[in-house]
């Protein structure tokens, strides 16, 4: 494959994607499906931890992930001079 002018930019983007999507998969499938019963032995106030992750915590993490990605990419765009305007 011929070298693209934005290869470094794209590679950093892919690295962010792998990291953020691993967190996404960990909270949604790890904490809320596969290890939920194990997490239930801990408590968070009136919640069992696994139950809280499955019905509340994961959603908060999702919102944060998107804003973190947007911020990281804005910085990356500037670093490589590919931002709009």
């Amino acid at each position: 494959m011929s070298a693209s002018p934005h290869q470094a930019y794209w590679r950093s983007n892919l690295r962010y994607l792998v990291i953020l999507l691993s967190i996404w998969a960990f909270v949604s499938f790890g904490c809320s499906v596969f290890f939920v019963d194990w997490l239930d032995q801990f408590r968070l106030g009136g919640f069992k931890l696994g139950f809280w992750m499955a019905q509340q915590g994961s959603i908060y993490v999702f919102v944060c992930l998107i804003f973190i990605y947007a911020a990281l990419m804005n910085r990356l765009d500037k670093k490589h001079g590919v931002q709009e305007d």
């Binding site: 693209s4 934005h6 949604s28 939920v36 919640f47 019905q55 509340q56 959603i59 999702f62 709009e84």
Partner: protein, 558 residues
């Protein structure tokens, strides 16, 4: 003023607001009609996406579903929110950079093929129609319950309203009406939740309230009490699940990828000015959705608790008003099996006397069950209508854009003028409203069932093709078409086999690897990707200009 008076007033006011916005935002160009001119602010787009996304099902049915399935209900909560992470990271910014009007546009251009465009077009129309019929039905039901008009009249009123702002204002009208509808629906959802949370736990924020102690039993947490009473009466514990993990996983993946692949959600991110706006806008959208989605499980727990407290062991003759009302319209059924005149509500079939409780009434009846003032009940009706109408409008726009732009302009007659194209778009929107209304009044038996599977189909068809189109420069026409066809045929046949042909064996024993028809879209999606990658290896690579196009959509500039 009674419940009906308040309902008329609040529904009337909200409708007047929507029509006012429609008149203010009339459009004259196809770009305005399809993507609101492409200059919607990311915040407004986030609000509109949230209203577009949250349908009658999210507003009315979801909390009820969770109330009766406990922790297993989280598959809906996470499935329908986690998809936005995929949308923000894998799709929205690149499709915005691509900068056309529709999803079939992207598929057709990226895979340099009219066949691919037409396949995508029919998938988009099919998914949107099954969805929209459900929304019109929701409108009819709310009207029938609260304003005591016939369902048919209710659907027609809903059609007129949607017709007005979708046909006049296109995407621009829809966007700004959806912003208003979000405000109405979130207010309507939160007010009763605050009240009920405060009454039960003394903590008015429902997200904290359902993990707090009961105000009438200090020292006991609400969820522990709920688990205790439910298990005492033979029900499944509220905070534990019983679905198999593999199935739960598949259902969640199908819902997430389906959400990210739904055409009416994707198209919203064509309306913001910049790539960076598209990324941020998905974040706003999920934030606004999360307000409702983190409140819903709290409402579910409160509702289950209140339901239990208000009917269990009470004399039938003194049953609360709402119990009688819903019994009257067939949504609750009571049989006094042991003839003692008391209501026994238990998890054991032999002794349970409340033989039917429709899940959908949990949100509608919740304010009544908790004894809240009449205006709150009217507010819930207005909120339910806002949720159904906003989703219906977004879907109708996808249908009209697909017909006018992808079918007429790009596939049949590329020479039509912009004015003619706009006329086609308006006629298609009008036609779609009428067909949707017809299905709302005469729902074919399969609609309700199909809506649930639309996600699996979207996940198995669109999602891999779009992602591969962006992340692989090597993916070609042959691979994409083969993948899409494999995914959709496999998923649709599995669903048909268990749901329509052999419903009697639709259970975990017969399912392949224990995966339910709801979750099979995940397998279809992996098959799609696998077939696409194999076929693409043995067929010629895409032309050089396509490779360059992919390089361009990967960077914001230019």
């Amino acid at each position: 003023m009674g419940i009906q008076g308040w309902t008329y007033l609040l529904v009337g006011l909200s409708f007047a607001l929507y029509i006012g916005i429609a008149i203010w935002s009339r459009v004259s160009s196809t770009k305005d009609f399809y993507v609101a001119g492409g200059d919607v602010s990311p915040l407004a787009n986030g609000l509109a996406t949230a209203a577009d996304w949250m349908s009658a099902a999210s507003f009315l049915s979801m909390a009820g579903l969770i109330a009766f399935s406990g922790r297993d209900g989280s598959r809906y909560l996470l499935g329908w929110t986690g998809g936005y992470v995929l949308l923000a990271l894998l799709l929205a910014p690149y499709l915005r950079k691509f900068g056309k009007f529709t999803v079939p546009d992207f598929v057709g251009d990226r895979y340099y093929s009219r066949t691919a465009r037409v396949v995508a077009l029919f998938c988009a129309i099919f998914v949107s129609f099954t969805y929209v019929a459900g929304q019109m039905r929701g409108v009819g039901l709310v009207f029938a319950r609260f304003l005591e008009v016939d369902i048919t009249v209710g659907v027609i009123i809903g059609m007129v309203i949607v017709f007005f702002y979708a046909v006049l204002g296109g995407m621009k009208g829809i966007t700004y009406t959806q912003v208003a509808q979000y405000c109405v629906l979130i207010f309507a959802f939160m007010v009763p939740a605050f009240f009920i949370s405060f009454m039960l736990t003394g903590q008015s924020v429902p997200q904290i309230g359902f993990g707090s102690m009961l105000s009438n039993e200090p020292g006991t947490y609400l969820l522990d009490k709920l688990d205790l009473v439910l298990t005492d009466f033979g029900f499944q514990q509220y905070t534990s699940g019983r679905l198999a993990q593999a199935d739960l996983f598949c259902i969640m993946v199908a819902l997430m990828c389906g959400t990210a692949g739904l055409p009416h959600v994707i198209v919203r991110f064509f309306t913001v000015p910049k790539v960076s706006d598209a990324r941020r806008s998905v974040g706003y959208a999920l934030f606004f959705i999360a307000i409702l989605y983190t409140t819903a499980p709290a409402v579910s727990a409160f509702a289950r608790m209140n339901l239990f407290n208000t009917i269990q062991g009470k004399a039938y003759a003194e049953a609360p008003n709402w119990f009688k009302t819903y019994e009257g319209i067939g949504l609750i059924e009571f049989q006094d099996k042991n003839g003692d005149g008391l209501i026994a509500y238990t998890g054991d079939e032999a002794t349970n006397e409340v033989v039917k409780i429709d899940k959908d009434i949990m949100v509608l009846a919740n304010p009544e069950i908790a004894g809240l003032p009449d205006w709150v009940i009217g507010l819930v009706a207005a909120g339910g209508l806002a949720a159904a109408l906003s989703t219906a409008a977004g879907l109708l726009l996808v249908i009209s854009t697909s017909v006018a732009h992808d079918l007429v302009k790009r596939s049949i007659n590329p020479n039509i003028t912009e004015k003619q194209e706009l006329l086609f778009a308006r006629c298609a929107a009008a036609g779609a409203v009428v067909i949707a209304g017809y299905f709302g009044i005469n729902p074919p038996g399969f609609v309700g069932q199909v809506v649930a599977f639309a996600f699996g189909l979207a996940a198995a068809s669109f999602f891999p093709v779009i992602v591969l189109g962006i992340f692989s420069t090597r993916m070609n026409r042959e691979g994409a078409i083969a993948g899409m066809v494999t995914g959709i045929v496999f998923t649709a046949s599995y669903i048909c086999w268990f749901v329509f042909i052999h419903p009697e064996i639709n259970n975990a024993e017969h399912w392949w690897l224990g995966i339910s028809p709801e979750g099979i879209g995940t397998v279809g999606m992996f098959l799609n990707t696998f077939v696409a990658l194999i076929v693409c290896r043995f067929t010629p690579p895409p032309p050089e200009e396509i490779r360059q196009m992919v390089e361009t959509i990967r960077v914001p500039k230019g």
